[in-house]
């Protein structure tokens, strides 16, 4: 199989994985020496923390590490024993409640100086408030996060407008408030850590994010038009870790290296999935490859060549700085990053020459995808079991062979 073939292993994803390991060790040392350290939710404040040189661990990433280590059930039990809901988002809290660093990834997280969290979802503020309490750290609530920037469902073509015309999509009152919230938090961080923030540095961070996403787009486009796909979905998704270093030169450089490596593979005709006959798009919430991917490839030559997270990276993060105001530009991004509309998923699938989207969803979602112009294979769960295989087989044999 493609992913196991050593001569096809990509260099950049491995370099990214190694960098992450080195980064956490370096961060641990920095925290030991008394430097500040922050925890925040993804897409809530990272660029600003990076600009202020305050190391930050993004909650989503921490949870992904727990899941990868197959510790999710263990931590969910910790929560259940305490009568708390056992959700994915609360696993970080569980690692701290458990207080057994030797069990946790990376030997556990150092005590943060601050946990920042917003009202993205009903429970987010509460869970992070409890997490900060468990650590004995400061909790800083932020009101508006992604999905709250807009009151109504955004227009179908939002993903074509968001980079240059974000001001049309985000409610100005909310945006004003979010800008104030950012400024207050920056002031607090400046007072409590002595680190500084500056507009030129913020501007530079946004420009670096834009460059990073441009490289990602170029790589994605090469993969989209090359069949068989030159890069496995696993390697594509592993590049997502670079998101946690958005707005930094090394974040940009990793994506540049990735693009160059993809280009090289295309030019040399290296394929990740040589038996590819049918291209599919996999849509799930966690940004992980499908567990049934190997079976589908071996049985039908059906390969998931792209994922909704690739669209999130390419379409959602870049922003043109409007009115020479990087703070507001950044605030708008934190408030309206993306919206998983069928039109957007369909556009991504078509762009990558996929013949269908596979996801766990209901009847109405299926109808909405079909209305948007892409067939959807609805599978009962993410598990690689008989029911999932039967649903995929039925669709492929009836529609694609």
């Amino acid at each position: 199989m493609s992913d196991q073939s050593s001569d096809k292993q990509m260099q950049t994803p491995n370099a990214v994985r190694a960098y992450q390991r080195e980064w956490i060790e370096r961060t641990r040392q920095r925290v030991k020496q008394g430097e500040p350290f922050a925890i925040c939710n993804g897409d809530d404040f990272e660029e600003i923390l990076n600009v202020m040189d305050i190391p930050v661990i993004v909650i989503n990433y921490w949870h992904a590490l727990i899941t990868t280590k197959k510790m999710d059930r263990y931590y969910q039990n910790i929560l259940t024993e305490r009568d708390y809901p056992a959700t994915i988002f609360s696993m970080g809290l569980a690692t701290t409640m458990d207080n057994k660093p030797e069990m946790a990834p990376w030997g556990g997280l150092p005590k943060p100086s601050i946990i920042i969290g917003g009202a993205r979802q009903d429970t987010e503020m509460r869970i992070l408030e409890l997490w900060a309490r468990e650590f004995g750290s400061v909790f800083w609530p932020i009101e508006y996060a992604i999905w709250h920037g807009i009151e109504k469902v955004p227009p179908p073509n939002w993903f074509e407008r968001i980079r240059d015309h974000w001001d049309e999509l985000v409610d100005p009152h909310k945006l004003d408030y979010r800008v104030q919230e950012q400024e207050k938090l920056i002031r607090y961080l400046e007072v409590s850590t002595g680190r500084k923030c500056s507009l030129p540095k913020l501007r530079q961070a946004i420009e670096l994010v834009n460059e990073q996403m441009d490289y990602w787009r170029m790589a994605r486009d090469l993969i989209a038009k090359t069949s068989p796909s030159p890069v496995s979905l696993r390697d594509q998704l592993s590049m997502y870790q670079v998101m946690w270093h958005r707005g930094t030169p090394h974040g940009r450089d990793f994506l540049k290296a990735y693009y160059e490596e993809v280009k090289d593979r295309v030019e040399k005709g290296i394929t990740a999935c040589p038996d590819e006959k049918i291209r599919l798009m996999w849509v799930n919430a966690l940004g992980t490859p499908p567990l049934w991917g190997k079976w589908a490839e071996e049985t039908y030559g059906a390969v998931c060549v792209t994922h909704n997270y690739m669209g999130i990276a390419v379409d959602s993060y870049a922003r043109t700085i409007l009115n020479d105001d990087p703070m507001r530009t950044l605030a708008a991004k934190y408030m309206m990053l993306f919206w998983t509309t069928p039109e957007w998923i369909a556009a991504q699938a078509k762009h990558s020459n996929c013949r269908a989207v596979v996801t766990v969803a209901g009847r109405q979602t299926k109808a909405a995808y079909e209305k948007a112009g892409i067939p959807m294979v609805s599978i009962p769960s993410e598990r690689d079991d008989e029911a999932t295989r039967a649903a995929i087989s039925k669709f492929i044999e009836s529609n694609l062979l």
């Binding site: 708390y84 979802q121 009903d122 429970t123 869970i127 408030y177 069928p342 209901g362 109405q364 909405a368």
Partner: protein, 380 residues
């Protein structure tokens, strides 16, 4: 028909008063949750009607909605309201004000506005989204104030009438009287020998949100004038904490087990009339101040205020036990339960935690058995 029977009738036939208002030429503004300032609605000459779900309704369809591919809401009462709206059960509403409350309520707005745009034949009321924040910081208060003033302006636009200070003061007097009368009901519940059951109280309080407040006050005054004849109740005194209770199923079961619900922390119970509005100053500022500072619900930061509210009310009601009733998928409520149970325990109040409860209680006997065992445990 007695005053109580009249109140009960309005609790059970929740559209009755609004439909009558409509027939007489008035306009009806529906709203969700208890953070929409109904004083503004009353002063604008509208009939304010709080929307509720129906656990006995067409529950197979509840939750079977999606919002452009995103899962809508699995929380029973919100899904039920959405279903009722789409089935035309609220077709007499002229306007619908949906506040920024829990996620599922926000999604109710996005779902309805999407449907409105994509299905022009679908008859829906005019929608209004009332934003407000999850903290009580000074800056949040300023932000909320601006949003409430925008709502006031919108109401004036809808009705073509200015909401004058005079009209608003009159509306405040009406809602304050209602709060004061409902506080008397609450006092009778927490008396050493409770004189009103939780089952009856939930209907009395709930009917205030389905009737014009003036009419409700009239009936409530009449009802309370007979308080001397209210029979005293025996049984274990319980406090109920948990998910929004827009129906009677739970209290009916609890009180069939030899207990009385003497107080609750619930937006359909005592918390709905918490905090009168100051009648001495500027009426607009006074309304806004009350809604900014009213008792917090589970969505609000910080958790400490929620725990304190729960403890204070349970202690004031001299309860012997507490029941935590959290509906399936209501994680917001579930996250505060362990802390609340802990603090009650420290204060000598035992708790029963009913988690993951269905919106429609089908297995009443199993629930009755659990509650009965808990009540017996307290009695021993």
């Amino acid at each position: 028909m007695s005053a109580f029977e009249e109140l009960q009738k309005h609790y059970l036939e929740r559209d009755l008063a609004a439909q009558q208002w409509k027939k007489s030429g008035g306009k009806v503004a529906g709203y969700l949750c208890n953070n929409v300032p109904e004083e503004f609605l009353l002063a604008a000459g509208l009939f304010p009607l709080r929307l509720s779900g129906d656990p006995q309704g067409d529950t197979e369809k509840i939750g079977n909605y999606s919002e452009q591919g995103n899962v809508f809401s699995r929380e029973g009462f919100v899904a039920s309201i959405l279903h009722m709206i789409l089935q035309g059960k609220y077709d007499y509403l002229d306007y619908l004000i949906i506040p920024h409350a829990r996620d599922s309520v926000h999604r109710l707005y996005t779902t309805l506005s999407y449907r409105q745009e994509t299905e022009p034949d679908l008859k829906l009321p005019e929608l209004y989204y009332l934003d407000n924040l999850h903290t009580k910081f000074y800056s949040a208060g300023i932000y909320n104030c601006e949003r409430w003033l925008e709502l006031k302006k919108q109401l004036e636009k809808w009705t073509g009438q200015k909401i004058t200070d005079e009209k608003l003061s009159q509306a405040i007097a009406v809602t304050n009287e209602n709060k004061s009368l409902l506080t008397k009901v609450a006092d009778l519940r927490v008396a050493d020998r409770p004189r009103i059951s939780g089952f009856d109280a939930l209907q009395i309080i709930g009917s205030s949100m389905f009737m014009h407040k003036k009419e409700h006050n009239k009936l409530l005054r009449e009802y309370l004038s007979g308080e001397g004849d209210f029979p005293e109740r025996d049984g274990i005194r319980l406090f109920v904490e948990g998910s929004p209770l827009d129906n009677l199923q739970l209290y009916e079961i609890i009180e069939s087990c030899g207990a009385t619900v003497v107080a609750e922390d619930n937006c359909w119970g005592n918390r709905s009339f918490d905090g009168p509005i100051d009648e001495t100053g500027d009426p607009v500022e006074a309304v806004i101040d009350r809604y900014n500072n009213k008792a917090p619900c589970a969505r609000m930061y910080p958790i400490g205020e929620r725990i304190e509210y729960c403890l204070q009310n349970a202690r004031a009601a001299k309860v012997q036990g507490a029941i935590f009733h959290v509906n399936r998928f209501d994680e917001m409520q579930a996250w505060e339960v362990p802390d609340e149970m802990k603090v009650l325990k420290e204060n000598g109040i035992p708790s029963l935690y009913l988690k993951d409860q269905p919106y429609r209680i089908d297995d009443t006997e199993a629930l009755r058995a659990r509650i009965s065992e808990f009540v017996k445990g307290i009695s021993r």
